[in-house]
């Protein structure tokens, strides 16, 4: 629903509900979950596998809707998010809340009945962790928000894996750790060149609270355990050479870009080319790393 110029209520368009689910974030969630599912030992019926991925996508959509419900006021203050359905006035908040709760309940319920209750429990916990722990508690209160909150985005490959095996072993925990350690350098690179936006919204991102030098040190510092964790599946002989070589190359590029960020002293967003390059590459990095991991486990190994 939305309020038009003479204070009347018009129903929101279906596209606005679609936008609430943050489709671009959802695509990364679906992709990493699919890689976890494909790389897991054993087999799953295609219908059940599709259902697991669909439930994960709907769960991610619920997270997006609930996040936008809770952050409508913050979104209105940032240029990057001001055009979203709630701050733009194309939908009322109650619709977003109902949509988010409905999607969450539906996705968890179907996951439990059709796939297994371990996956349903993990999905329910990750939705709760993102929508409540991260959005309401961590994000507005601590500069470590995305470090701890990164756990929510790290669950999808674990759930994909557990859909096949019915349990959580060392490998899915490693996949979790890769995304968990990837999140700080990824988001802090964005936070550096979007510092003004986050500052205007009053979100205590690390560059705003501790400064740009500390943030650049942290980005470079987190890149090393991330790279080591990404290479571990090969070191533990859980993958073949294809993944091993790809992991080394991708992490070398990531570290080189993180080094350039560390060396950069720019305070103006326009001069933060290394930060923008690291942010863009970090997305490609995760896509390629997980795609090659799944390919290696399925075809080569």
């Amino acid at each position: 629903m939305t309020t038009a110029t003479r204070d009347i209520i018009l129903p929101a368009e279906w596209r606005d509900f679609w936008a609430l689910t943050k489709p671009r974030v959802m695509s990364l969630v679906v992709f990493t979950a699919l890689c976890g599912l494909l790389a897991a030992p054993g087999s799953i019926h295609p219908v059940i596998g599709f259902t697991a991925i669909l439930c994960l996508a709907l769960g991610a959509g619920a997270c997006g809707a609930l996040n936008q419900y809770f952050e409508a006021d913050i979104d209105a203050k940032m240029a990057r998010t001001a055009g979203r359905p709630l701050p733009a006035g194309r939908m009322d908040r109650a619709s977003a809340l109902n949509f988010g709760i409905g999607l969450a309940a539906f996705s968890v319920g179907i996951m439990g009945v059709a796939v297994n209750w371990l996956c349903a429990g993990l999905l329910a916990f990750s939705i709760f962790f993102y929508a409540i722990v991260y959005t309401i508690w961590l994000k507005p209160n601590t500069p470590q928000n995305i470090v701890i909150g990164g756990a929510a985005g790290a669950f999808p490959p674990v759930i994909g894996w557990a859909a096949v095996t019915g349990d959580v072993t060392l490998m899915p925990v490693l996949l979790f750790a890769i995304i968990f350690l990837w999140t700080p350098p990824h988001f802090w690179a964005l936070a550096l060149f979007m510092k003004t936006d986050y500052g205007a919204a009053g979100i205590p991102m690390l560059p705003n609270v501790k400064g740009q030098r500390v943030t650049r040190n942290q980005i470079f510092g987190y890149s090393f355990p991330m790279a080591a964790t990404a290479i571990l599946p090969f070191a533990l002989a859980e993958t073949g050479w294809v993944y091993g070589v790809a992991a080394v190359v991708l992490n070398f590029i990531f570290l080189a870009l993180a080094f350039r960020v560390w060396k950069n002293e720019a305070t103006d967003a326009a001069a933060m080319k290394p930060e923008k390059q690291l942010f863009a590459f970090s997305i490609l990095y995760l896509f390629l790393l997980f795609a090659i991991f799944a390919f290696d486990r399925m075809v080569i190994s």
Binding site: A4, I8, L10, P11, A12, E13, W14, H45, V47, I48, F50, T51, L54, V113, A114
Partner: protein, 51 residues
């Protein structure tokens, strides 16, 4: 709504509302049909018809 009561919306607003309602109904219809098919397939798999 009583047919004799004057509408709270102008003709232009009513057209927008009808268009949005139609769009949402179409999407909801497609989603429901897709879910019916999915639930049928899940049931068939779960009861082991395809082994």
């Amino acid at each position: 709504m009583n047919q004799n009561e004057p509408s709270a919306y102008t003709a232009e607003e009513t057209a927008i509302i009808r268009k949005r309602q139609a769009g949402r109904s179409r999407v909801m219809g497609i989603a429901l049909v897709a879910l019916c098919i999915l639930f049928f397939l899940i049931t068939v798999v779960k009861v082991g018809v395809w082994g």
